[in-house]
């Protein structure tokens, strides 16, 4: 029997629990991006937007708990000396940036809520890349996200270097 008396174990539990909470809240976002491709009626699009508005704070709150508890674990477990821990953090940040940029472009395009930059303006080329993905964006983001999460999980479980 392994006692739950050590602080490290409690924080590790919190880390995994908050990650599960994040997947649940972020899953709502992912479902909506796929659903947006099938919708055209304004009232149905608005209802789906409501899902994203509701899950946003939960998604952000839980990912913050995951990151902070992960950083605490790095210090407590002396993992900060190992490359796998930093690489995991780097992958998480990188995938976050990809999601925000391409997810944002997709939502702006489908919902018509964002003004697209004109040629020569800042972000023009990035937005053009995003628009080229078009309706394939949800699949692109899901596959990229799952590969990144799988890599992070592998690094966390096997601590290879």
């Amino acid at each position: 029997m392994r006692p739950l008396t050590q602080m490290y174990d409690v924080i590790l539990f919190l880390h995994v629990a908050s990650a599960l909470g994040y997947f649940l809240a972020h899953g709502a976002f992912a479902s909506v991006t796929f659903a947006l491709n099938r919708e055209s009626q304004p009232e149905r699009l608005e209802a789906l937007e409501g899902i994203m508005d509701s899950s946003g704070p939960w998604s952000l709150g839980s990912v913050l708990v995951t990151i902070v508890s992960g950083l605490v674990l790095m210090v407590m477990g002396n993992w900060w000396r190992d490359a796998w821990a930093w690489l995991s953090l780097l992958i998480l940040i990188a995938i976050g940036v990809v999601m925000v940029i391409f997810g944002g472009i997709f939502l702006g395009w489908r919902l018509g809520t964002e003004e697209m930059p004109a040629e020569g303006e800042r972000w023009y080329r990035t937005v053009q890349w995003g628009l080229r993905l078009g309706s394939r964006t949800p699949l692109f983001l899901t596959v990229t996200g799952l590969i990144a999460l799988g890599l992070i999980l592998w690094l966390m479980m096997f601590k290879p270097f």
Partner: protein
């Protein structure tokens, strides 16, 4: 090989939570809606994620059962308790979904499940009846039980207390 099975098991759990997210948020969001078209959009959203939901549930269940044999865990109480909680939660969620959300689907003129059969859409009910069915929805107990049960399973898996 055992570690890779546990890896697959955790990956299945991650996929399951991601696939279940849309439905979870929908159960809360639909309570706020008054427009039948918007309700239909939310209920459709829940239906779209069903294949990913079923596939990831199967992955986590099968990999968990095999990992239980490979790690010789089946002689311990925690793994049986985890399985019992998972099955108990699934049965309750399935029942609750049919008792409330499929009743709403029927009232909204959508495809619905009743008894053990899938039924084609029938004529939508009047607004008053739709709102009456909507008023019976109780998403909070389901969410507390669902996430609370998941946390208990996580605790049993991580600390193997008995």
């Amino acid at each position: 090989m055992y570690s890779w099975l546990v890896f697959l098991h955790v990956l299945g759990v991650m996929g399951f939570m991601l696939a279940h997210g849309g439905t979870t948020v929908m159960t809360f969001q639909i309570q706020k809606e008054r427009d039948p078209d918007r309700m239909r959009a939310l209920l459709d959203l829940s239906g779209y994620s069903w294949p990913a939901f079923a596939l990831s549930f199967l992955l986590l269940l099968v990999s968990g059962i095999i990992a239980g044999f490979m790690g010789r865990w089946w002689s311990q109480g925690w793994i049986w308790t985890s399985l019992a909680i998972l099955l108990g939660m699934s049965i309750y969620m399935g029942w609750s979904s049919r008792a409330h959300y499929h009743k709403l689907r029927k009232a909204l003129g959508m495809r619905y499940f009743e008894g053990s059969k899938d039924h084609p859409p029938i004529k939508a009910a009047g607004e008053e009846e739709i709102l009456a069915v909507q008023a019976t929805l109780r998403p909070l107990p389901m969410a507390v039980l669902g996430f609370g049960g998941t946390l208990v399973i996580l605790w049993l898996m991580m600390f193997k207390p008995f």
